[in-house]
């Protein structure tokens, strides 16, 4: 029986090649998109799932209120770990991780920059990062030890047998390799090439016991049967007990299962996070698959007349309805199976591109039985969903009417079929409109005036001897003609590293807790960055040596402080006093989607990490960079020359939105493509059934254009209805999406017009081909055949 069904299924497929191709392509593309999206979702939901003790691992978070707003964040003081161990009996152990850092590893002449973290010795016992060599318990106890990944070991020594070997770190300390770790899985927040023991931090004098210094991550492993609630109750009162400075400051333990997907906090409460995207993408995947299924249903029912006779005969031959439902479902599962194989091929081919887009390293888990089971499940489910309507519809035919030939196109059928087309195009219109709005928002933000001049602006992080030799480096850069201007700053102009509510000035209200962006520069900041001064002057140490304690404000800061004559006024930051020498126009330091914050730029007395170099536009960029490299090599020979272009870094601020825009464009294109595939098949069929009518009309003198419009009109009506459904939904979703951007574009009426026209144009192009073909056909032929 099954074999018989299979056979007739195959013959039907081969007999109607065009129809089969449309069906299979549509389903395959739909399934491929669904597989890609589910791979992404799988990758997201399996974040940190490989840790054996994942159910007991927590991260310590702060919860404190500033300017009336409750903030939650996860950088906590170094002393917290000890306090937790002392006061929380529920805790088995704690482990800390410092901020990830890129440091230099050297073996002989070989030098490699690697990123990693300084962690407590318990790190490898809390988290499941297996050591290939070495003892996880003791590996991080030795102050002179270091754990490296297998890959780093191989890069350094050319072999994996590196346990006990010595490396030189940052050209200043020798370390012995005490453990070789496997490279961490990609779906973990810990992406290290090395782990340094906490003792190393202590040796360097970077360990502190100050409760106000939120500088590391504190992780907690609860005991097997401990209650998280009771541990959290104790966490709540921990900080006030030890830190008298901030008595209203609470802390809580945040479970590992929520780190990746839920850790977006607003007013101290979880407000979604990546889980929102997981949900959106899952919905989109299901929608695309559904649209492909709808195609299948539509085309199958449209062809029902051809299969009706077979149904009648089979019923007369004794087939029960169940037999026929089984046969048609079997056929659609078979088509889904072929489509499934094609989909896997599409996924294999498109995965590298998708990985680049999603910035992931996903792969199809061919080796896992679960994958094949899931794939098979998806295929069967798709086949059943896609085949259900045709199967039940076709099997309901009464043999008498079918065989007597009284069976014609049933008008009642048109309604569900129209409904299916409307569903498809509603989704398509939703996605098109969303894509246009997302693109518009992206463009709107990209076109926003940054307030500084990115052209030819580069920066380098100060490593090794660069700080020491800064003045020499600057002098040579200027003399060689490579640079037009050089300025040392606290952070790149594209990043906000420091902010504080501890800025004081005369007349500041005691409950004013305005948060200032804090930046520092030595001199010539306005020249190097191309800032517009609105009052006073730039830092100039050679002319005014006291500028080391001078301060520049942006206009927002001036407004906040309320000075009429700011120049010369004294502003305090903690213990340090600065005098204002100038005010510049606001520029975007942080997110281009937010209003600029009040900002203070403090003088040369402050700390510096970055050298900004404005390249001399008289020379070519390549030549200037070459000179820069030579100068850096000369004064900082132990470290490789690394530089960044400010404009490139600035563009990275849009990466997230860019990604959403690209993804939504792909989804929209796919939906449109699959929908059009279905529309094309449907139009071809509809036109074919009206051949006689068209022939008669032509004989009576109808023009080609009138027949084309006759055939196209019906479909356009459906598109119109779809627009009325899809557009408001898209507006609603996009309106909400835009609310998360304080600096946002407006959804204007012409966006709707554009979407409507675009969809109509695509639909006309799809349907029109068939319509024109039918209209151009010689009526004699069509009428003779009747």
């Amino acid at each position: 029986m099954l074999f018989n069904y299979l056979k007739i299924g195959c013959r039907n497929l081969l007999k109607n090649k065009g129809f089969s191709a449309i069906n299979i392509t549509g389903l395959a593309i739909g399934m491929a998109s669904a597989i890609l999206i589910f791979l992404w979702i799988y990758d997201e939901v399996t974040y940190e799932q490989f840790h054996e003790k994942k159910d007991r691992i927590y991260e310590a978070w702060n919860l404190a209120s500033f300017s009336g707003e409750l903030h939650a964040w996860n950088t906590t003081p170094k002393v917290l770990a000890a306090a937790i161990q002392k006061d929380l009996p529920e805790v088995e152990t704690t482990t800390r991780a410092a901020w990830p850092q890129r440091i230099q590893f050297a073996v002989g002449e070989k030098k490699i920059n690697a990123s990693g973290q300084t962690v407590d010795s318990t790190f490898l016992q809390v988290f499941s990062f297996p050591l290939l060599k070495g003892d996880p318990v003791t590996a991080l106890m030795d102050p002179l030890g270091v754990v490296v990944t297998e890959d780093l070991g191989r890069s350094l020594f050319g072999s994996t047998d590196v346990l006990g070997k010595t490396v030189r770190i940052d050209n200043r300390k020798e370390k012995k390799i005490t453990g070789v770790a496997a490279t961490p899985p990609a779906n973990s927040r810990f992406q290290f090439e090395y782990l340094l023991p906490w003792a190393d931090l202590r040796t360097d004098g970077d360990d502190d016991a100050y409760w106000g210094n939120n500088s590391v991550r504190n992780y907690v492993l609860l005991k097997a049967n401990a209650s998280p609630a009771s541990a959290n109750a104790k966490m709540k009162v921990l900080k006030p007990r030890y830190d008298k400075e901030d008595p209203n400051w609470q802390m809580f333990l945040y479970p590992m299962s929520r780190w990746r997907l839920y850790s977006s906090f607003e007013s101290g409460k979880e407000t979604g996070g990546i889980i929102v995207y997981v949900r959106i993408f899952a919905t989109i995947a299901i929608l695309i698959l559904l649209i492909a299924c709808i195609n299948f249903m539509n085309l199958s029912t449209a062809r029902s007349e051809k299969r009706a006779k077979e149904v009648g005969i089979r019923k007369v031959a004794g087939a029960l309805r169940g037999h026929l439902v089984g046969q048609f479902l079997g056929e659609s599962v078979m088509i889904a199976f072929i489509a499934g194989l094609l989909a896997v091929l599409i996924v294999v081919l498109s995965l590298p591109g998708f990985n680049r887009l999603a910035e992931k390293t996903m792969r199809l888990p061919f080796g896992e039985p679960a994958f094949w089971l899931l794939l098979l499940g998806t295929i069967v489910l798709t086949g059943v969903v896609a085949g259900s309507y045709p199967a039940f519809y076709l099997s309901s035919f009464r043999p008498v009417s079918v065989l007597k030939g009284t069976f014609r196109k049933i008008n009642a059928l048109i309604t569900p079929r129209k409904l299916l087309v409307i569903t498809q195009f509603s989704v398509a219109i939703m996605l098109i409109l969303s894509t246009i709005v997302i693109r518009k928002q992206l463009q709107y933000a990209q076109e926003r005036q940054t307030g500084y001049d990115k052209a030819g602006l580069t920066y380098m992080f100060m490593t090794g001897d660069m700080d020491k030799n800064y003045l020499l480096i600057r002098q040579e850069l200027l003399q060689s003609g490579a640079a037009a201007s050089v300025t040392k700053t606290s952070s790149p102009l594209t990043q906000n590293w420091s902010d504080t509510w501890g800025i004081f000035w005369d007349g500041k209200s005691p409950d004013d807790k305005t948060d200032f962006d804090r930046f520092s520069a030595d001199e010539n900041l306005a020249v190097t960055a191309g800032l517009t001064m609105v009052m006073g002057r730039d830092f100039d140490l050679s002319k005014y040596p006291t500028d080391s304690t001078a301060m520049l404000l942006n206009e927002s800061a001036l407004k906040t402080m309320g000075f009429k004559d700011p120049l010369g006024r004294i502003v305090k930051d903690g213990d340090m006093e600065f005098h204002i020498v100038g005010v510049f126009k606001d520029f975007i330091l942080g997110s281009p989607y937010y209003p600029t914050k009040p900002m203070v730029v403090e003088g040369a007395k402050r700390w510096f990490n970055v050298i900004h170099v404005k390249l001399n536009n008289k020379n070519s960029v390549a030549a200037s960079l070459k000179k820069m490299e030579a100068i850096c090599k000369k004064y900082n020979p132990q470290f490789p020359f690394e530089y960044h272009f400010t404009d490139e870094e600035y563009d990275k601020k849009f990466a997230n939105e860019q990604r959403i825009a690209t993804l939504s464009a792909y989804f929209a294109a796919l939906t449109i493509f699959i929908s059009c595939l279905g529309l094309f098949g449907l139009a071809a069929y509809m036109t074919a059934t009206r051949v006689k009518e068209i022939g008669v009309r032509k004989v009576l003198g109808a023009s080609v254009s009138s027949i084309t419009s006759l055939l196209t009109k019906d479909f356009l009506k459906l598109i119109g209805i779809s627009f009325l459904i899809g557009a408001p939904i898209a507006w609603y979703c996009m309106h909400h999406w835009l609310q998360s951007y304080p600096y946002r574009t407006a959804i204007e009426w012409w966006l709707f017009a554009l979407t409507g026209l675009l969809t109509a144009a695509i639909a006309i192009a799809t349907v029109g081909y068939n319509a024109i073909k039918a209209a151009l056909a010689n009526p004699v032929k069509s009428l003779r055949s009747e």
């Binding site: 029986m1 018989n4 056979k7 007739i8 013959r11 039907n12 007999k15 006779k309 077979e310 009648g312 005969i313 089979r314 007369v316 031959a317 004794g318 087939a319 029960l320 037999h323 009464r398 043999p399 008498v400 065989l403 007597k404």
Partner: protein, 223 residues
């Protein structure tokens, strides 16, 4: 075998009932060969379909092998039908996508016959109708007479007690028609298959043991 009592069937057209069958009473015994005649629209095919359980009557009783068909549910009726009745059509109604062999085999699939047995039964049937050489051809590659042979073979494969034929020779030339009629006669006499056929041709009707004349949905009784 078949007992129809006061069978009526109508369609409602613009509020008025149009009768397709009106108060039909008919008994057919096992082993009979009955021809139904009448002009177009007299209800011949409708009567055949009611007997064949492809169609319901609106009124009246229908007893088939002592079972009350008019009281049965769709599914029970299908089971009964599947077991005892074979159908032959004027337009053959073969499945275009299946070969001769597969067309004949189809009813057996729905009888849950084992594969080996199916092979034997279809083989016998091909032999008997002398179409072994055509078993891998598709319907479109056969002549009308050959197609009808396949249609009959298919109707007989499940060993029905009753064979219903709706103008089986209507699309055939007279020589082919005669062959089919001879075949029916042989089936009736040698295998004891009860046959009810609808026909326009007096000559073909004469093959039956008796002729039932229909006019406007009523049985005409000879005076």
């Amino acid at each position: 075998m078949i007992k129809l009592e006061h069978i009526s069937k109508w369609v409602t057209n613009g509020g008025a009932r149009v009768f397709l069958l009106k108060d039909v009473n008919l008994q057919i015994a096992e082993g009979e060969f009955v021809s139904i005649m009448g002009p177009s629209g007299s209800g011949k095919s409708t009567l055949l379909n009611v007997i064949g359980m492809l169609d319901d009557a609106n009124e009246g009783k229908y007893e088939f092998l002592h079972e009350q068909v008019h009281l049965m549910k769709e599914k029970q009726r299908s089971q009964l039908y599947k077991q005892y009745i074979g159908f032959v059509f004027q337009a053959y109604h073969l499945i275009d996508e299946l070969t001769v062999y597969e067309n004949i085999e189809t009813p057996l699939l729905y009888h849950d016959t084992k594969s080996a047995e199916r092979k034997a039964l279809v083989g016998d049937m091909l032999d008997r109708f002398q179409i072994v050489g055509k078993k891998d051809l598709f319907p479109s590659q056969l002549s009308g007479g050959q197609q009808q042979l396949v249609g009959i073979a298919r109707a007989l494969i499940s060993k029905p007690k009753l064979l219903l034929a709706d103008e089986p020779t209507g699309n055939l030339n007279s020589k082919q028609g005669e062959e089919i009629m001879e075949l029916f006669k042989k089936l009736n006499e040698e295998d004891g298959v009860t046959i009810v056929q609808v026909t326009h041709s007096e000559k073909n009707a004469a093959y039956g043991h008796r002729i039932i004349n229909l006019l406007d949905g009523r049985i005409e009784h000879p005076h």
